[in-house]
Subunit: 330 residues, 2 copies
DNA sequence: CTGAAAGCGCTTACAG
DNA sequence: CTGAAAGCGCTTACAG
């Protein structure tokens, strides 16, 4: 019933049109001179026949794979998952636009995971790191092998090409926005203090106070709030200390802070301001007047992937790129 | 400083050893006769030199890619994410073991997304569907193109090879376990009633009552509980109706049920039993004596991938495979 | 058991 | 502008 028609090859096209494979190849790729007339005949025919070049063969001839690998943490927790997922989505989108595909490789912190296999098997032209560590075995491995790498987020490694949102400036601007409203008792709840991103955000926070010639009250700053109980505890203390505003370092913290505030008093959000870094994960829970800096993990992935492909194409790339952010009230 | 040594090829190996490429190829692949002595010399040399065959070239020669694609929903919500993520992890693990790699393709319900590109570009040998729909454009597309497909979960499409946990038997056994303890007023809170999995689980629930010659009290059964408020509402009603036990359809429901029960009375878990289908997502929240049926999304992915690779290898495969489950108290 | 040769489907100097 | 030929790095009938 169903005939499995065999795939058309460049040879078939050439034969039918009475030209050489060379000519067909050139007409398609756009490299090398072909008369406009011949080009049109070729393009028209392949369009009509729905001919698609075999990317694998093309790759072999050019010593390329048209694949990139994305290193995903195998050990990330539920909170971080949406970030990586959105990031991945953006990467795939950018890759597809340039006819690249994306191989997923899982690694645990510090390990190489499936990376070695994929590299020695020569299945990718480059790699994007979605998580950078201080001692990054994967980054080192790739550097030694001369495989193009770009990282999502900030890394201390000055040789590693990296793309990140400008967390410091963002937090500076967010805080400034609060201070300019006359708010002085600003609380902050953040996660792991050793993370680069946490430090950058706090840096911006402190910058704002400095610019306004105000002291930052460290008794209102809480780091390491990773569990619900810790966050709620911090909120309680901040309320006791009469904080006028709470700056949250991420979605999860923000959600718990809002939840806690409402639990204490449904109308508390009218008096205590909440500000947050917001990845857009759980918008439905937020409903008050929350000042946010919005980040777009998908766009971050998109830009990172494009940068990697530029590197693969041999373009000169800035080592560090910072993406813009927007302030918004949600 | 750093010399970029060019990759060893089969020709280099052959030349060094003074044999033909054919022989080297055969020694490595194990196909075709080669004297034991020659084979050893080859294997030893390539091991010493750390030679790895170029998988792309191998693929071209065999008209294979050694890639599979995994279709991921671009529009899934946070609750479902861990399932897909774990599934993906298992798929990648199984693939790597057989020297395959995994391309990720995002699709929105009903669409083809990047699938078409990847198929016409001939970049994969098969596809795993992580979500099956009633009207599945992707499944149809692949079927028409004769590309091997295997689905995670249950599908109504009788031609589609599918792997799933045995939700019906699991829920039967779980419910039976409760009934045998003398519990009679069993409540159930489930999600979207139109999902195959929800129906299967409810089917098992009802089966248990039937086997015990007991009626199922539908006033204790709640479907469509997707929001927190709905779940909490259901819990309240079940408490009013003096339910002795609440069977939860998934992790999220279970977490909210436990949370709600504790909120009403910290010790309520001692009197009201909770039973749940459990993917192991947020164990830390669970702490009581909860009867669970545990499912392992990672293993599901692992098995599914292996099945797909078997299909690709031309093996005969059962259309439907059901994975075992375990009852546990956590 | 072993090898020369053709082939997988492209690209790209090189020559015309 | 166009093409014959060699090459990318493997595999695999076919012949010995």
């Amino acid at each position: 019933m169903e005939t499995v028609e065999k795939k058309l090859t460049i040879a078939d096209v050439a034969e039918y049109l009475g030209v050489s494979k060379t000519t067909v190849s050139r007409a398609i790729s756009g490299k090398g001179r072909v008369s406009e007339e011949t080009r049109q005949r070729v393009l028209q025919y392949i369009d009509r026949m729905d001919y698609k070049p075999n990317v694998i063969a093309k790759g072999l001839a050019q010593s390329k794979t048209f694949n990139i690998a994305v290193l995903m943490p195998a050990d990330c927790d539920m909170q971080e998952l949406p970030f990586f997922q959105n990031c991945m989505c953006g990467i795939c989108e950018a890759a597809a636009k340039r006819d690249y595909d994306v191989l997923t490789v899982y690694t645990t912190a510090g390990g190489l995971g499936g990376l070695e296999r994929i590299v020695t098997n020569q299945k990718v032209d480059g790699v994007v790191l979605t998580r950078t560590l201080v001692e990054d075995a994967a980054a080192d491995y790739l550097k030694n092998r001369n495989v193009p790498v770009v990282a999502v987020g900030s890394s201390a490694d000055a040789e590693l090409i990296q793309i990140d949102h400008d967390h410091r400036s963002a937090c500076l601007e967010l805080t400034m926005h609060l201070l300019k409203q006359g708010i002085r008792k600003v609380g902050m709840i953040g996660g792991n203090e050793t993370h680069v991103v946490t430090r950058n955000r706090f840096g911006g926070f402190a910058d704002a106070f400095r610019l306004m010639n105000l002291p930052v009250d460290m008794s209102l700053v809480y780091f390491g709030a990773e569990k619900v109980a810790e966050i709620e505890q911090a909120v309680e203390e901040l309320l006791e200390k009469k904080a006028e505003c709470i700056v949250c370092m991420d979605d999860m913290i923000c959600n718990h802070v809002i939840h806690k505030l409402r639990e204490v008093d449904v109308n508390l959000l009218n008096t205590v301001k909440v500000a947050s870094f917001y990845g857009g994960v759980s918008g439905s829970i937020l409903a008050g007047r929350v000042e946010t800096v919005e980040f777009d993990a998908k766009k971050l992935g998109f830009v990172t992937c494009n940068t990697l492909l530029d590197v693969i194409d041999g373009k000169q790339i800035a080592v560090k790129q910072l993406l813009p952010y927007k302030l918004r009230t949600i």
